[in-house]
């Protein structure tokens, strides 16, 4: 059992713009100009029509589609943090752009700062791109005040 947070492999050719974007502080998503479809996770081509896709920067703004509060038993790296929140955020650009991430207060903080009673489905969030490990970044979802 791994003691550190498991990391995503970032050396997959067709995903390179996604991971590069995160390293540069941007969230980039695949878009098909032929059929207008956005998609995540990245695929080799458009999952709707099979044509090539382009990478476009997205706003990082979205809403909470769902969330859960994780309780033990968990992997050792997460044990000191439990219970903690994990959400699925739906990006403003498209209802099918949904990404998993932790939920943070508006001012940022640790992934176990908020409790379930602080967050509900439909709340506005914005991506805070943070390191998961050496050279690997991922968005966390920061609540938008108001």
């Amino acid at each position: 059992m791994s003691a550190s947070v498991p990391l995503p492999a970032t050396d997959v050719a067709h995903e390179a713009p996604f991971w590069e974007g995160l390293r540069e502080g941007e969230l980039r998503m695949q878009h098909c100009s032929a059929c207008g479809r956005w998609q995540f996770p990245p695929l080799l081509g458009c999952g709707g029509c099979g044509r090539p896709v382009a990478w476009l920067r997205v706003s990082g703004r979205g809403t909470i589609w769902s969330l859960t509060e994780i309780h033990p038993p968990v992997l050792p790296a997460f044990a000191p943090l439990a219970p903690y929140l994990v959400a699925l955020a739906e990006l403003d650009e498209s209802p099918v752009l949904r990404m998993v991430g932790n939920v943070l207060p508006a001012q940022g903080g640790a992934i176990n700062t908020l409790r379930l009673s602080d967050v509900s489905i439909g709340m506005k969030v914005t991506a805070a791109i943070e390191p998961l490990g050496e050279g690997v970044f991922w968005p966390r979802w920061r609540l938008v005040p108001g």
Partner: protein, 384 residues
């Protein structure tokens, strides 16, 4: 080639279910298969087809030589854990219906009671498969993935933990009547349910299946041959697998409508083949690694309308006297978790009239695989 009703399940067998069983997975597999062949009254040397799950660790050749099976003409394995069971049965049935094989065995044997054997606990330090998109954020276990869908479902259709409690309690009541169930002696009240520890909110301990050691096996043959077997045959009326367009296993929330997924694909193809519809089902065995999968599947297979399954459950729909008695052995939540194979054996028993809680006059049964993975389902029918 007409598939409908051309094959039958003629034998079921199982080991005892429990934690820390002494036997190896191979011994358990052979015990269950031996019992199923004895139940069918078929000589092991007649078996010429084998089917199981890709996650099964007992090889076909070990099973075959340890049980003195005959020459084998067909063997297949189906992927995706709890989504595999109906597919494993259906593929062997297809081989028999096509004339490639004559007698098939489908089995699943596992020793999962040891926590170190859980798949999620063995997440690698660098994730190369599709779990790379979720596990680094701490969404670690299958229950976490189902919890996201359950909370969304409650948001869309109304708070439903009381319905999950009713599923858990009803299946426990069935288990309390089943001498083979690991939970036969342990009752569950509504207070017990709501006092249980949270695992992935809104899902608590009792929304999770049991981790069990044990094995279950089925014997299949052609319908015309089945009339000479020891037990009343149960016909395989229809079969489909399902993998929805754009599906991602267990984390299937990137499509526009995560509640119309691989179960819906399976269901539409199943009912297209069938001579009867959802309202004609006598019983159902619905894959229940987690209680919300029962809610989602009731809707996907057309037993309830969209958003109506919680009320169906609350009104006692799953009970012996309800509209559709479901998971009548206690299922994965309260009998044993043999990756859904014990749902298949219970479906057969109900149509033979020898379930632990027999449903009077049962003629038809739906058996489903996991709602969250590429999946499959069978419609079973009692022979006339």
């Amino acid at each position: 080639m007409a598939f409908k009703d051309s094959t039958a399940i003629v034998g079921v067998g199982q080991t005892r279910f429990g934690k820390g069983l002494a036997e190896s997975e191979l011994e358990l597999a052979c015990q269950a298969i031996g019992a199923a062949l004895a139940d069918a009254g078929i000589d092991p040397a007649e078996v010429d087809a084998l089917g199981s799950y890709t996650m099964e660790e007992t090889p076909e050749f070990e099973v075959a030589r340890n049980l003195a099976l005959g020459d084998i003409h067909f063997f297949s394995r189906v992927n995706y854990g709890g989504g595999a069971g109906p597919g494993a049965v259906g593929q062997v049935a297809l081989a028999i219906a096509a004339g490639i094989a004559k007698v098939g065995v489908v089995w699943r044997s596992r020793k999962r009671a040891d926590p170190s054997s859980r798949v999620w606990a063995n997440t690698p330090p660098v994730i190369r498969d599709h779990w790379k998109w979720s596990r680094p954020s701490g969404l670690l276990r299958p229950v976490d993935e189902v919890a996201l869908l359950a909370r969304r479902y409650f948001h869309d259709h109304g708070e439903g933990r009381d319905a999950l409690a009713e599923i858990a309690q009803q299946q426990r009541r069935y288990a309390n009547a089943n001498p083979a169930a690991t939970m036969r002696d342990r009752t569950m009240t509504r207070d017990d349910y709501f006092a249980a520890r949270m695992v992935a909110d809104p899902l608590c301990l009792f929304d999770n299946c049991l981790e069990t050691d044990g094995a279950v096996a089925l014997v299949l043959t052609a319908a015309d041959r089945s009339r000479d077997c020891r037990r009343r045959p149960v016909l395989i009326h229809a079969f489909s697998q399902g993998l929805a367009r754009g599906h991602q296993s267990m984390t299937d929330y990137h499509r526009a409508d995560p509640f119309d997924g691989s179960s819906g694909v399976t269901a539409r193809n199943l009912w297209r083949q069938a001579d009867f519809g959802p309202a004609d089902l006598s019983v159902a065995q619905i894959y229940d690694a987690f209680s919300p999968l029962v809610l989602f599947s009731l809707e996907a297979y057309g037993i309830c309308g969209r958003g109506e399954s919680a009320d169906f459950v609350r009104s006692g729909g799953l009970s012996p006297s309800g509209k559709l008695p479901t998971n009548t052995s206690g299922g994965g939540l309260s009998e044993a978790y043999i990756h859904g194979m014990n749902l298949l054996s219970e479906g057969v028993r109900q149509l033979r009239g020898d379930g632990a809680t027999p449903i009077a006059g049962a003629r038809t049964c739906l058996v489903t695989g996991c709602d969250s993975t590429p999946t499959g389902a069978l419609l079973l029918r009692a022979a006339a």
